[in-house]
Amino acid sequence: MNLQESYLYFILLASLLPAVIIFFIPEQRHRLRVFVNMAGTTIKLVLVFVLMAGVRQGKVYESRITLLPDMDLVLHADALSLLFIGLSAVLWFLTTLYAIGYLENSPHRSRFFGFFSLCVSSTVGVALSGNLVTFVIFYEALTLSTYPLVVHRGTPEAMKAGATYLAYTLGGGAVLLVAVVWLRILAGPLDFQTGGMLGDLVQTYPLELRCIFVLLIGALGVKAALVPLHGWLPKAMVAPAPVSALLHAVAVVKAGAFGIVRVLYDVYGVDPAAQLGVSTGLAVLAAVTILWGSLRALAQDELKKRLAYSTVSQVSYIILGAAILGPVATIGGLVHLVHQGLMKITLFFCAGNYAETLGVHHIHGMDGAGRRMPLTTGAFTLGALGMIGVPPLAGFVSKWYLGIGGLRAGQEWVVAVLVASSVLNACYFLPILYRAWFREQAAAWPEEHAGSRFEAHWMLLTPPLVTAALCIAAGVCAGSDWSPLEWVKMITEREYAPR
């Protein structure tokens, strides 16, 4: 194994090894656990930058292990996987910091951080998968490692949410496995390939391939929370705030969306998918999800629930962009993978801060929160405005490219969906901002934790401020060399390059 291959394993191990170690750290050894956690996250960040620099120069990292004579476990880092890994590495670092502050003095921290790291390892595995079989393996591992996090509190409500989560995701997993085996029999080794791997099969098995596509989307759509498979996501809100943040911005939901992008571009390919006519159906489904999620978000009074429905809606932007099958729309969709992650994690961090510092869980209780916690509310405002698509924030860039992409591909209805969704976004985010900034505080905070030098514990305050700053940076500096937008443009150029 040469050094380049071993980088891939190092990246996996950077979170897997801490997971194993943390399980064995006794509950009270707080400092040791923090050290192991932070060491893992830092090493991972460094490794990701090294890989990114390599991929930028056009290198491809790949490593194979034979699982069965005709089945390989392939780790593969290309530009698309690094987009996802880069996002997860940065946000894992911040979320770990946040979680350490959030869970201070609560029980079972070793279990929590162990599974937390396992969850991130699986996400990285999903991103690094070089074929569908490997993808399935990590995708299932992600399902299982997330369950203990969802039920972490052990309350009856949490157990119920966990059961719902498992019912949806394991069901999806079973369908995914069937679809992958079927495709494997038709198409061979299933290695991801820019531009698709099906070749002439599109002519030979059009019907079978359409069925498989439906099965694949049905399976991946569970995690990506496509309507009507989204039911688990709002329920999973009972999990601790850092878990929700990670679930919504990086791990589970994104794994589903990322899988759909992979299937569309690197399994089916742009042209075959258009020939089979499957992409239009997916685009319509995504549009329905966008609108339905926003509508449902309007009706929620619990802050985290509203954010959850907002995720349902926003994640489908990625799928919509991917399914329109034009270079510009692809850019819009893929860049939203990162932008939505940054904005949504900011919002969840802030929601966690309101709950943890003031005891506020509901929107009607947020009157005057802006004056009590100006920094948190400032970050929340940036995230919310970004979601609405106010320039020059990150969300604006995504929506701009999505809209132009829709027009270029001759699908004007996309613009209508975007406008409607933005109006709805405004309808459910602006009242929160209004309450927080402009209303007077109505009653005493339900459970105020005072006594820290800032408005909240510094470990809770720093992460949302950093991610909010990143939301601005991703929008304002979209044209710079290292922005997510430029990276996505590079992916798109490679995907649509003439072959």
Binding site: V136, L144, M159, L166, A174, V181
Partner: protein, 484 residues
């Protein structure tokens, strides 16, 4: 003969059993040493077979019709390996479980080990009967070990079932012997044809062995028997003993009976297997006791094994199906023993076997909780695990053969297993926990080691299947050549 691992594989546990019987106070020590030696012998056998291929050893220099011979193709070391792994694990676990080192467990268990090793090495259907009988009797004794009324009743029921199964089998053997004057598998293979006598023999032997294997609808005795035994015994019974009669059944159907009968019976076996998966899964969902849930999961897994028959009847998928089922056998043996041991730990700490009492057990025993979870992954067939490899192959086989309905059964079985496993795991994860009891370190880590092995074996399939394919076992002779 002295230089052949086969003879030692039978003699060594037999001698250890006698020794443990005579020197009761050192039973645990003798048992563990014997299990380790057994493991080394299996490794030796595999090493020999990798260079020599199929091995045939005549004891005392007398050849087949008169003397006893040992025969080993790929399937034999596969089963022996499984028995050896479980042997070491059970011995270590039982060392902590039975507080008295002079428990009767040790001599009886060593007897069982000798019988099962002999069964996997014989090429003679009458000797197989003797081994099976010995195996059944020692299992009965092991179930009755705890001496409480439930266990005694379960043991008695098991005894009757086991006897009945053996009798049916013996009837079939005598029919074959009277028709062909031989009990050697290879000789019979060339002699049998579709005569009424052969058909009757096949029917008797199959029913007898199905009863012992607990295939639906003959599974009724298994859950109470496996659930009422002490934890290490449950682990052995579910992981290993059920597979002994299955092994013999596979040998008979793939290597003795004519291909034409095979082809007509295969769909029926598949159907019963599918029914077992669904029925067992539903029953497991309805149970209120932890060990009964795990025991019904064995009923389900036995159902999977029988999907081999319809899929092996199809020439394109025979290899996939064979390797898939053989890998599931391994995965199930290891994961199920781990599950029973972990469940045993919960029960020891909680002091009850009821699901509703398991609240918080996971917090008190995180390692056992984790082992149960990992074992569950393999039993559900989720990646990465040995169970996943097996299921993947069966999935591929069923879709390649165009028999998609088995895919539905497999997928449904996986989901059902997930559902009933989380019935155990989720109360165990729930709060609050007031349990503080301790268990011996051997009991804590043995299921974990087994469960981890179940996951790691998911990465060793190419190497291990190479061993299994030595001498190309389990190929229906005439089905391929004489079939349509």
């Amino acid at each position: 003969m002295m230089a052949s691992p086969e003879a030692w594989l039978v003699l060594c546990p037999l001698a250890a059993a006698a020794l443990a019987f005579l020197w009761r106070s050192r039973g645990a020590f003798i048992g563990i040493v014997s299990a380790l030696i057994n493991g080394a012998l299996v490794a030796w056998l595999i090493a020999l077979m990798r260079t020599e291929g199929v091995r045939r050893i005549e004891i005392g220099g007398w050849s087949a019709p008169l003397g006893i011979e040992f025969y080993a193709d790929g399937l034999s070391p596969w089963m022996l390996m499984l028995a050896a792994i479980l042997g070491v694990a059970t011995a270590v676990y039982a060392r902590g479980y039975f507080k008295d080192p002079g428990s009767w467990f040790w001599p009886i268990w060593l007897m069982l080990a000798a019988a099962i090793n002999a069964l996997f090495l014989t090429r003679d259907i009458f000797n197989a009967y003797v081994c099976l009988e010995l195996l059944g009797l020692s299992s009965v004794a092991l179930i009755a070990l705890s001496g409480n009324p439930d266990a005694l009743a379960a043991a008695l029921r098991y005894f009757f079932v086991s006897m009945l199964g053996s009798l049916f089998y013996l009837l079939g053997v005598s029919l074959l012997y009277s028709a062909h004057a031989t009990v050697d598998i290879d000789r019979l293979r060339s002699l049998v044809s579709e005569t009424p006598a052969t058909l009757a023999a096949a029917a008797f032997m199959t029913v007898g062995l199905l009863l012992k294997t607990a295939l639906f609808p003959l599974h009724f005795w298994l859950p109470p028997a496996h659930a009422n035994a002490p934890a290490p015994v449950s682990a052995l019974l579910s992981g290993l003993v059920v597979k002994a009669s299955l092994y013999l059944l596979l040998r008979l159907w793939f290597e003795v009976f004519p291909g034409a009968i095979f082809a007509s019976v295969a769909p029926l076996f598949g159907l019963l297997g599918a029914a077992a998966v669904v029925w067992g899964g539903i029953q497991a969902l309805l149970q209120e006791r932890v060990k009964l849930v795990v025991a019904y999961s064995t009923v389900v897994q036995v159902g999977y094994f029988f999907l081999l028959f319809p899929l092996a009847a199809h020439p394109l998928t025979a290899e996939l199906a064979r390797q898939g089922v053989i890998y599931l056998l391994l995965a199930h043996a290891i994961a199920k023993s781990a599950a029973f041991m972990a469940a045993g730990n919960f029960i020891r700490v909680v002091g009850s076997d009821r699901l509703e009492d398991m609240k918080g057990a996971g917090t008190a025993l995180p390692v056992s909780m984790f082992s149960l979870g990992l074992a569950g992954i393999s039993l559900m067939g989720l990646p990465p695990s040995a169970g996943f490899i097996g299921k993947w192959k069966l999935f591929s086989a069923s879709l390649t053969a165009g028999q998609w309905w088995w895919t539905v059964v497999l997928a449904a079985g996986g989901l059902l297993s997930a559902a009933y496993f989380f019935r155990i795991l989720s109360p165990a994860l729930a709060e609050p926990s007031r349990l503080g009891a301790k268990i011996p370190r051997t009991m804590k880590w043995t299921p974990m080691a087994l469960a981890l092995a179940g996951v790691l074996l998911g990465f060793l399939a190419p190497q291990l299947l190479e061993i299994f394919e030595i001498g190309a076992p389990l190929r229906p002779a005439a089905a391929m050549e004489g079939g349509p």
